[in-house]
């Protein structure tokens, strides 16, 4: 009985225990679900605002819209820099699994050269996460069509229309106009310093030299923005709102690109520089540095072989000789010396010396390059025949301090402030300069003998062609000095309003009118009967000039014979001039590196420039002048 009872009891007790445990489990389930519910309440109610914002941030992306860069026009509205739209083939790396395979596949549809791959890889290293990068630029219509037909094979690859910079005149005026190229680290720092970081989101090119660099923030414009919905892969799904960009402002230059072209051609394959200035305003008409280069090479990443060629050429085509080349002015310095003598009162125009062809000073012989000398030489003659002895004496009489003071006023040895970055100051020699320049005390001392060669534009004298042009223009303009500049006015892209770069006199030099007239008359004489008479024979206008030849190295008394000296060691040929002599509209300085005599090499270039600018005459078969007396 008892046993039966217990046998009945056991399953009951067991069932009871089971039901208790099921109940316990049920309770645990309830607690677990309450926990989940609490978590969901926390996320969806308590933290809802926070997560809503996060979801919006996920989904909405601000895409910058790059503004059209301003165009650059010359004084006749010829386009010097413009934009054009071209198709590029771009890859978004984050959407492509195997980049190499994709590029290999693409190369079967569209030509992809090794240089394109190289450039793409370089861009990839520098790029931001979701950016699309060009694998090919400037697709032809046919290539676009061919890709479109195979597009489904290449997810993450697309054809985009992008704006490219183009310089229609190519190499002409490249040193003045400059070029743009991809933004690098240093550019980023400049952008940051200028607080333009936001404005440059989406911009990948920036002005690197010339006006493109100087007027970067004018040309760039204001970046617009588009709010787009993006998916997790960074693809734009739809546009939500749009703030249009403001295009960059346009630059109108004082430069005359046809004049520029004629001047560049006049140099042929010779190295050199020419700066032509409108004396009454300081507006630069031509700014030549030869050899030049094609700025279009830089626009979508210069090819390394092009770069090597430009960079390693002994002719240094990237060097802007007009602003960064510093040369002794040679005899072109003489008119300024003469004017200084008149202003200081060290000479009168009629005061003459008897030139024996040599000047002895402190046991050293300073020779004139005409054997036996020029005879009786007054100031007028000293300029016309370029008599060295006259200026040896003059320099010695004036002393270095007076020379430096006077020359400093006309801008020698100082940056002119032209609107291109990186201008060199050159060297205006003086005892102070020597102290700054040299370390050792014995080198710091100024020797009186050093003053002598300063008088003929040699010695430590070292000026940029633009300084020489500015000084020439100042004489032509009777002492009213302007800052040379390239931009005439800036046109606001929105309003069309023109902001003129007002020609404001930099300095008005208190020169006596009769003193200036003496110099001007002598310079006219140079072109009529002097060293450059042949170059200007038969010109239909009056002009004033001065030739110069500056020594690259000293021959230590030996006679200079052009044919015997290596090309790199030959003298530089210089020429300064302005025309028409009675009311100058153009003043210039020409330099031909290792060109030999200024009258032979440099003066004919000035003649061609004047002929075109004043008469509209195009040069014919550019005949070189030969057999010129003296220099």
């Amino acid at each position: 009985m008892l046993g039966r009872h217990s046998r009945l009891d056991a399953p009951d007790r067991e069932l009871e225990r089971f039901r208790f445990r099921v109940g316990l489990a049920g309770f645990a389930v309830f607690v677990a679900f309450a926990l989940l519910a609490a978590r969901l309440f926390h996320l969806q109610v308590v933290q809802h605002d926070y997560y809503s914002t996060r979801a919006e941030d996920n989904r909405i992306s601000l895409v910058p819209i790059v503004p059209n860069r301003g165009v650059i026009l010359d004084r006749q509205w010829t386009v010097l820099a413009r934009n054009y739209s071209a198709f590029t083939l771009e890859i978004t790396p984050s959407r492509v699994e195997d980049l190499e395979a994709t590029i290999d596949g693409l190369s079967k549809v569209i030509e992809v050269l090794p240089k394109d791959r190289k450039r793409f890889r370089r861009l990839l290293e520098e790029s931001k996460t979701f950016e699309s990068l060009p694998i090919r630029t400037r697709l032809s219509e046919e290539e676009v069509a061919r890709f479109a037909a195979n597009r489904y094979l290449f997810p993450g690859v697309e054809v985009k229309a992008r704006l490219f910079r183009h310089y229609p005149e190519g190499a002409v005026g490249a040193h003045a106009i400059g070029y743009i190229s991809r933004i690098n680290k240093r550019d980023l720092e400049i952008i940051e310093e200028s607080e333009q970081t936001n404005n440059y989101k989406g911009t990948d090119h920036i002005g690197k030299s010339g006006l493109e660099q100087k007027y970067e923030f004018q040309l760039h414009g204001e970046t617009g923005y588009e709010q787009v919905e993006i998916d997790a892969g960074g693809r734009a799904v739809r546009s939500l709102s749009r703030t249009p960009p403001v295009p960059g402002n346009n630059l109108s230059l004082t430069l005359d690109i046809r004049l520029q072209e004629i001047a560049e051609k006049a140099f042929g394959d010779r190295r050199g520089a020419l700066v032509a200035i409108e004396p009454a305003t300081g507006g630069i008409l031509a700014l030549v540095s030869t050899p030049t280069f094609d700025p279009n090479l830089f626009v979508d990443g210069i090819r390394s072989d092009d770069w090597d060629q430009l960079n390693n050429s002994p002719d240094k085509p990237l060097l802007n000789r007009a602003l960064n080349g510093a040369y002794p002015p040679g005899s072109t310095f003489k008119p300024f010396m003469a004017l200084a003598a008149l202003e200081i009162g060290k000479r009168t125009p009629g005061q003459a010396i008897s030139d024996p062809g040599v000047f002895n000073f402190g046991g050293h012989q300073f020779r004139d390059d005409k054997k036996g000398g020029h005879g009786l030489v007054d100031m007028h003659k000293s300029i016309v025949v370029s008599c060295d002895t006259y200026y040896y004496l003059l320099a010695n009489d004036m002393g270095i301090d007076a020379i430096a003071r006077f020359m400093g006023q006309i801008g020698f040895g100082q940056r002119t402030g032209v609107d291109i970055e990186g201008e060199s100051p050159g060297v205006l020699p003086s005892p102070e300069w020597k102290k700054r320049r040299f370390r050792r005390p014995e080198q710091q001392k100024w020797f009186a003998g050093e003053t002598i060669s300063i008088g003929i534009g040699q010695g430590y004298n070292s000026y940029t062609p633009i300084q020489l042009a500015q000084a020439t223009a100042t004489i032509a303009n009777n002492g009213i000095m302007y800052r040379p500049h390239l931009v005439k006015y800036i046109t606001d892209s929105r309003t069309g309003e023109k902001t003129m770069i007002e020609p404001e006199p930099l300095r008005i030099l208190p020169w006596k009118r009769q003193n200036i007239e003496v110099i001007k008359k002598a310079m006219v004489g140079v072109n009529i009967s002097g060293t450059s008479a042949r170059a200007f024979a038969g010109a239909g206008y009056t002009s004033a000039g001065k030739t110069g030849t500056s020594q690259v190295f000293s021959l230590k008394g030996a006679e200079y014979k052009e044919s015997r000296v290596k090309k790199e060691l030959r003298d530089h040929a210089l020429f300064i001039a302005y025309a028409p002599a009675e009311a100058p509209t153009i003043a210039l300085a020409v330099l031909v590196e290792n060109g030999g005599f200024g009258a032979q090499a440099a003066a004919p270039i000035a003649r061609m420039v004047f002929d075109y600018y004043l008469l509209g005459k195009l040069p014919k078969g550019a005949a070189r002048e030969e057999n010129v007396e003296g220099d």
Binding site: V22, A25, R39, L40, F41, Q44, V45, S52, A55, G233
Partner: protein
């Protein structure tokens, strides 16, 4: 006569079905299907495939419900043995995908044997306890633990921590409901806590990373933490009433990873909000409650512990999945019942619910 025959056929077909379970199943399937549609808006073939999966699931559920528990018992040993043998095969000749050996190739298709163990383990243990019902002693619990440990270790070694935990949990529920003494349970818990540091060193790198990521998802925002961060953003941005069906930005802009499978709850929560979540959790709670009720009322030990284990396993699926997606549990690959896309899990689930129905509807027959 014909009428009588038809009536008998009808009774034969419908009688084994539990109305409450069927209704809850259908409701959950409806919710699941609409969510899969939203999660796979880019690929409509998935919706159709999932509808097919659900139809197959319903058919399996009905078929299993026909089998009385006594017949189910006969499957216990062969199914368990077959499952373990297949797991051993996987260990040696399984297909390696993403560094894990989980699949077995049958030539025309692949199967994942660990899925079988989700049913086979509780079935086997329930059968074992039932067999030794009158004489349950400590050694029986030990044998039961061993029977559980073999497949658990094999699955954990694949490695497939998610499935291992689910199989382990299913087995543990049988042993627990079968009457494992409390002192052993407490002892095991203490031992487990003591062994935790050791277990940590046994985990794979990616598993450790997942646990660490749970503690601080922002430590790895583009790697392991990305899933959790994007899922919590989806849930949180859903708010009280959700963004609306097919309107979830996190979903449709593809910020939620695995959005039609393991992370489908984030899709649902984003579009339906807290209100929708409450409805969904309530449906699960009712389903679990019904299962526990069936267990409590079952007539044999086998039926009781089996029903209890199946129900609590279902709960485990839901808790682990929602806990993982909402960022309170580490990321383990556990699908959400009736919601996540995929046929295998649905079939396993349907077998389980079919067994519950069978236990419920055959209860009276056994008593009689």
């Amino acid at each position: 006569m014909a009428e009588q025959l038809a009536q008998r056929a009808w009774v034969r077909l419908v009688k084994p079905i539990d109305g409450v379970l069927l209704l809850l199943t259908l409701a959950l399937m409806a919710v699941g299907l609409t969510t899969v549609h939203s999660a796979t808006a880019d690929n409509s073939s998935r919706l159709l495939a999932q509808a097919m999966n659900m139809s197959v699931g319903l058919a399996v559920m009905w078929a299993v419900a026909q089998l009385p528990p006594q017949k189910l018992m006969r499957f216990a040993v062969p199914l368990y043995l077959a499952g373990v043998v297949l797991l051993i095969l996987v260990f040696f000749v399984g297909i390696k995908v993403n560094g894990a050996r989980r699949w077995l190739s049958l030539g025309f298709t692949r199967i994942q044997p660990s899925e079988i163990l989700k049913i086979a383990v509780p079935l086997m243990l329930a059968w074992y306890f039932h067999k030794h019902e009158a004489t349950l002693k400590a050694r029986h619990y030990a044998v039961a633990c061993l029977l559980l440990l073999v497949p658990f270790v094999l699955i954990a070694k694949q490695p497939d921590l998610g499935t291992a935990i689910l199989v382990g949990a299913a087995g543990f529920y049988v042993i627990f409901l079968g009457g494992l003494p409390w002192k052993v349970i407490v002892g095991l818990l203490a031992a487990g806590a003591a062994a935790a540091p050791f277990a940590w060193t046994m985990l794979h790198d990616y598993q450790r990373k997942r646990i660490l990521t749970l503690i601080d998802p922002s430590s790895d925002p583009l790697g392991a933490g990305y899933h959790i961060i994007q899922a919590t953003i989806a849930i949180g941005s859903g708010g009280s009433f959700g963004k609306g069906w097919l309107e979830g930005t996190q979903t449709h802009l593809e910020f939620i990873p695995e959005r039609h499978t393991d992370f489908i709850f984030a899709v649902y929560a984003e579009e339906r909000g807290l209100l929708g979540n409450a409805v969904l959790l309530l449906l699960y709670l009712l389903l679990i409650g019904r299962g526990l009720m069936i267990a409590a009322n079952a007539s044999t030990l086998f039926a009781r512990v089996l029903a209890g284990s199946i129900t609590l396993s279902l709960f485990t699926y839901v808790f682990v999945n929602v806990g993982m997606v909402s960022g309170i549990l580490p990321v383990v690959g556990v699908p959400l019942p009736y919601m996540s896309y995929g046929g295998t899990a649905l079939v396993t689930l349907s077998v389980g619910v079919g067994i519950l129905m069978s236990i419920q509807t055959h209860r009276m027959l056994v008593r009689q």
